[in-house]
């Protein structure tokens, strides 16, 4: 049971981050290799603003999201605009270059040590649920993950912005011809995706260490997005939980081989149903 909760928690953090990646791909057709590095920046921003200025956790989290969104706008304007029409591999590798830049920038600014963020006071401690003692923060994360997925769904399907985004996904040219500012929307989409990475970084900070190397979460994001289906919220949700829980159980049962499982699942999906559990064949 503990593993189930732990798996769900790590799954939810992964969900928040992966949603950003999936969303960006679904709409802009850009696979952002630097998404993990951006998550890392979010975690560091959260930690350093708390450590240096003593602001409360929720403020640091909001700041992280805003900073990352701003960074996303910058990246989109300077870099991505130029390569929308380039080959897929060009995009992938360009964003890969960003990984190098961002991860070293983080090391330069904040050093190489491990840091940690304390669980915010109102959410610390544990409560008893179904006869077992569970950390409050874990429950909070699970709730947040579902909330983020729901809010994203609502934005996409119930707001005008979401309508424009869906139109853009289907046909960029026609949407533009209808007078909708496609460029602005693209920038906003990317900023939103990156903002989610920042949110994941902030919320994950009390659980996952804040240190160099956490940008490698991008690989897990890829696994999630492939298994769930790119551009699908439901798919990302299911896949994140799946990966989180399976890995959690796996590590306790067969610690040596457990890490192969996510990759094996990814390979299996690609061989059997490449567009993912909830994706659409193109």
């Amino acid at each position: 049971m503990d593993q189930l909760v732990a798996g769900m928690v790590s799954g939810m953090i992964l969900l928040i981050i992966a949603l950003g990646l999936s969303f960006t791909f679904g709409v802009l057709r850009i696979v952002n290799f630097a998404h993990g590095a951006l998550y890392m920046v979010g975690a560091y921003v959260t930690w350093s603003t708390i450590a240096r200025f003593g602001i409360p956790f929720w403020a640091a989290a909001i700041l992280s999201v805003l900073c990352l969104a701003a960074l996303g706008v910058l990246i989109e304007l300077v870099l991505l605009r130029r390569i929308y029409r380039a080959e897929l591999m060009m995009q992938l590798l360009l964003t890969f270059g960003l990984v190098y830049i961002l991860s070293d920038a983080v090391k330069f600014i904040w050093g190489l040590e491990y840091h940690s963020v304390a669980v915010p006071a109102p959410l610390s401690g544990s409560i008893t649920l179904a006869g077992r003692s569970m950390p409050v923060y874990s429950i909070f994360i699970i709730f947040m993950g579902l909330a983020v997925a729901l809010v994203l769904w609502l934005v996409l399907n119930r707001t005008r912005f979401g309508l424009y985004v869906r139109a853009l996904t289907v046909n960029r040219e026609i949407t533009s011809a209808l007078g909708i500012n496609v460029r602005f929307i693209s920038t906003m989409v990317f900023a939103l995706g990156v903002g989610l990475a920042g949110l994941g970084g902030a919320l994950g900070a009390p659980i996952i260490a804040v240190s160099p190397g956490i940008e490698l979460i991008i690989v897990d994001c890829f696994i999630v997005v492939v298994i769930g289906g790119m551009g699908s919220i439901a798919g990302t949700l299911v896949a994140s939980l799946l990966i989180g829980v399976v890995t959690s159980f796996g590590i306790s049962i067969i610690p040596q081989q457990a890490l192969v499982i996510p990759y094996a699942l990814m390979a299996l999906i690609l061989l059997v149903r490449p567009w993912g559990l909830f994706g659409r064949a193109e």
């Binding site: 380039a86 991860s103 081989q257 890490l259 192969v260 990759y263 094996a264």
Partner: protein, 326 residues
């Protein structure tokens, strides 16, 4: 109709001259490289060995990625398997050293055959992800199969066979092996098989109606590509005297792809030139600052943005424009 066949090869001023110039330059370069051990200090020889190895790995990958259009994101697998096979043969097993070195790339070839069989059915992004997934699996296995692969710590203290123990000899060995392999790759690229690969990339439909089974060609290409990258991995172990799981990780795959993009994906010397840039830039920057990744990433991003065809690719493109072909 009976039009007169004009032999345009005589009239191909710029392009043909460029090709000849490149071939002559390559021969001169080879001669220069041969005599370098008599001129430069040992450190340079090791650096050049690194360049040779990455150049071969990247060129091997470009057969699959550039000429056939299948961009593998997990080519580190064949590099790493070649590297580990060599390491294991030279340490654990009772196999004679030179036999082990010779067999290692074939182990990589075998892996490429298996992975390729499954992967070539997919295209584009799915192909990239599947090859990445397989490479990651190998990476995990290398870390966990400690008994065989040395686990996280890899295998160290590998001693080279006597004939190539000295740096000079090692250098010449690498130079010869890489030169021969690149020559073989040139022959393959210029062969009918190579031409069909490019045709396959441009129009899979048309190629099917020429009676060509796509998967067969792609698989053969995958295997050849994996083999040569495996050779590079084997050399890598001999040079470093060690091997670590890193050789199988994404960064290694990325390094090859970055070399290809910097130098040029669709011209033969591209990946090799890119490899030179990658190794030299990293070492040069590395001497000034520990944050070499930042500058490397920056340079890479700038090159890709402003020279999307890569260094050699852009030169070739402007030559073609002069010729009026584009």
């Amino acid at each position: 109709m009976g039009e007169k066949v004009i032999d345009l090869r005589k009239e191909l001023g710029v392009l043909l001259r460029a090709k000849w110039a490149a071939q002559i330059a390559a021969i001169l370069l080879l001669l220069l490289l041969f005599i370098l051990p008599f001129i430069v200090p040992e450190f340079w020889l090791f650096l050049l060995c690194e360049v040779f190895v990455l150049a071969l790995a990247a060129t091997g990958l470009s057969l699959l990625a550039g000429y056939t259009g299948l961009v593998s994101f997990g080519h580190a697998a064949y590099y790493g398997i070649g590297a580990y096979a060599c390491a294991i043969f030279l340490t654990h097993s009772g196999v004679p050293a030179w036999l082990g070195i010779l067999i290692s790339p074939f182990v990589a070839l075998l892996a490429a055959a298996v992975i390729g069989f499954f992967s070539v059915r997919l295209t584009e992004i799915y192909f990239a992800f599947l090859t990445m997934a397989f490479a990651q699996m190998f990476w995990v296995i290398a870390q966990k199969w400690g008994h065989f692969t040395g686990g996280y710590n890899g295998i160290v203290g590998i001693v080279r066979p006597g004939m190539i123990r000295s740096t000079d000899h090692l250098y010449w060995f690498c130079l010869i092996v890489v030169a021969v392999c690149l020559l073989l790759l040139v022959v393959i690229v210029r062969s009918p098989f190579g031409l069909l690969l490019r045709s396959l990339r441009d129009s899979p439909e048309r190629v099917r109606f020429l009676g060509v089974y796509l998967h067969r060609h792609r698989l053969v290409c995958f295997m050849i590509s994996g083999f040569f990258t495996g050779v590079a991995g084997t050399l890598g172990t001999l040079i470093a005297g060690s091997v670590f799981p890193d050789s199988l990780y994404i960064w290694k795959s990325a390094e090859m792809l970055i070399s290809i993009l910097i130098g040029g994906m669709y011209v033969f010397p591209g990946p090799a030139v890119g490899a030179i840039v990658v190794v030299v830039v990293n070492h040069v920057i590395g001497t000034f600052t520990e944050y070499w990744a930042f500058w490397f990433g920056l340079i890479f991003v700038l090159i890709v943005m402003f020279l999307p065809r890569g260094i050699v690719g852009s030169v070739w493109q402007s030559l073609k424009k002069q010729e009026g072909m584009e």
